[in-house]
């Protein structure tokens, strides 16, 4: 028996968290959520995820901060990150040295699923 893959959904907007969670649960993921970067880092420090869906603009610590944390402490997890943002240009200009997958909001949920499948 294989265990279900784990996903982390990080977004300060509850509507997006719930939407993405539902999409992933239907694809048999076990989903955890975080409502800002600081909460995400607590989870990332202790667990590994098959996929990390990460919003950029968040209070306390933003998505850029989370990416920098991963680059420093868990570089292997970077390939699992899909940045979800309404600010594609912002993402490109603030994260020049870190390769990442990006999906722009609003997104097609099939496109999101395709990106997720590339991670596993």
């Amino acid at each position: 028996m294989t265990t279900a893959p784990r996903a982390l959904v990080v977004d300060d907007d509850v509507a997006i968290r719930v939407l993405v969670t539902r999409i992933l649960v239907r694809r048999r993921f076990v989903v955890e959520t975080a409502s800002d970067g600081a909460e995400a880092i607590q989870k990332l420090a202790t667990g590994a995820y098959a996929v990390i869906l990460l919003d950029l603009m968040m209070p306390r610590l933003d998505g850029v901060g989370v990416m920098k944390f991963l680059a420093e402490y868990h570089p292997d997890q970077l390939a699992r990150v899909i940045v979800m943002t309404a600010f594609g240009a912002y993402a490109s200009s603030h994260l020049p040295a870190i390769p990442f997958r990006l999906i722009e909001k609003p997104f097609d949920i099939h496109a999101l699923v395709r990106e997720v499948e590339k991670c596993i």
Binding site: I16, R22, A86, K105, P106
Partner: protein, 418 residues
């Protein structure tokens, strides 16, 4: 029989016969404009317009005269008539239409001068000469122009020698001052433009977030195998995201109305204690959700002002919601109110993120947001709208913060209603 006072009061006439005379005309224009109560900017505008046209008279007609006349009719004005007996201006229509391409600079002075004055009339006859009349209305608060005022001005001008060198130096200083001023205005425009770009990006971001939820859920619900619970959850999420979007759009429209002066109040006698009561109960869910403490420091004294109850609720409600948004768990938000002989004062303070020294002077400007508040979402319009509404009520708003991480306190004061 009442004495008829002539309404056109000649101040002085200056002849332009040598090149230094148009500089003299400029100097006189400046002295007269100052004496009649024009602002320093208008002094420069008038002096520039007069010297341009006087220089044209010298350059193209070999000379002419400049008459300065006070027009004492309401609205009071300064009239300057510059006439010459030169060859006339062949391309006048083309020059006035703005389509004239000058091979030698001729004509540029005319269009420039026209924009500097309130009225500009020109009459040119080929082979006979040209008369230009420039008129500038006096500022509304300028003292009345009486024959005595004009007589003493004429007298002062006759006793003051015209010194072209002094005027040229003065002119240079003016140009330097104008350049400084232009530099400052340019920097302000640039800053405003950048703030607008950030605002547009923020609007796009803020509208896309609920749109993502709406479109995503619609796509989910289109699937054939959606259970009843998921369907209900989706519909709820769509409705709530649509409400968020509607509120954002309302904010943008409201800010535009405030900016164009189209916000109106429905005035009545309002007790701000009632307004605070209503906000108190409205924000309880948010207070509980964020685990912050909300305190009220008001005794029961009525806080009567004349205002629009809905707008007052919007003003104080916005300040309280902001405080909740920027205060971390276990922080405290305090609503205070007091009344003295003249004013009702309401304050909203918090122990939250505070405001940096750089942002503090700009918090009530449209589109301004700190880097931190951008991460909290929103458009940076709330405080601009609040400040506008406070002013519409004849009140004042002030903010104090000791810096990032050290909380903020907003204080609004309204005139007490008796």
């Amino acid at each position: 029989m009442a004495r008829v006072i002539s309404q056109s009061l000649p101040i002085v006439t200056a002849l332009v016969r040598q090149s230094k005379d148009w500089i003299g005309a400029r100097q006189r224009a400046q002295i007269i404009a100052r004496a009649l109560g024009f602002s320093p900017q208008d002094e420069t505008r008038i002096a520039t317009a007069v010297s341009e046209i006087a220089r044209n008279a010298f350059d193209y007609a070999g000379g002419g005269k400049v008459e300065f006349i006070a027009d004492a009719r309401e609205p009071q004005a300064l009239l300057v008539r510059i006439s010459d007996q030169g060859p006339g201006i062949v391309d006048l229509d083309l020059i006035l239409s703005g389509r004239y391409r000058s091979p030698n600079g001729l004509g540029i002075g005319i269009t420039g001068s026209r924009t500097l004055m309130d009225e500009f009339a020109i009459d040119t006859r080929i082979g006979e000469g040209t008369v230009v009349e420039l008129r500038k209305l006096l500022p509304r608060n300028a003292p009345p122009v009486t024959p005595d005022v004009v007589a003493s001005l004429t007298d002062a001008l006759s006793r003051r020698p015209i010194d072209p060198l002094e005027e040229a130096q003065h002119y240079n200083q003016e140009i330097l001052r104008t350049l400084d001023e232009l530099g400052r205005v340019n920097r302000e425009l640039q800053a405003a433009n950048e703030a607008k770009d950030v605002f547009l990006a923020a609007v796009s971001h803020e509208l896309r977030t609920p749109m993502t939820a709406i479109l995503g859920w619609l796509q989910m619900l289109e699937g054939a195998t959606v259970g009843k619970d998921l369907h209900a959850e989706g519909m709820k999420a769509i409705a709530s995201a649509a409400k968020v979007q509607a509120r954002l759009i309302d904010d943008v429209l409201e800010a535009a109305r405030a900016h164009t002066g189209k916000l109106e109040l429905e005035l009545a006698s309002v007790d701000l204690q009632d307004v605070i009561d209503s906000i108190w109960s409205t924000v309880q869910p948010a207070v509980a959700d964020r685990s912050v403490n909300l305190e009220r420091q008001t005794n029961g004294t009525p806080l009567l002002i004349r205002g629009d109850a809905t707008r007052l609720q919007q003003i104080i409600g916005n300040l309280v919601s902001n405080a909740i948004k920027f205060t971390p768990a276990n922080g405290t938000i305090s609503i205070g109110a007091s009344v003295d002989d003249e004013h009702v004062t309401v304050s909203v303070s918090d122990t939250g993120e505070g405001i940096t020294e750089e942002l503090l002077p700009h918090v009530f400007e449209r589109f301004r947001q700190g880097a931190n508040s951008r991460r909290h979402g929103g458009l940076g319009l709330g405080l601009a709208i609040v400040s506008h509404l406070v002013k519409l009520h004849g009140g004042t708003i002030a903010v104090a913060s000791e810096g990032a991480g050290r909380g903020a306190c907003f204080t609004i004061r309204f005139p007490l209603s008796r």
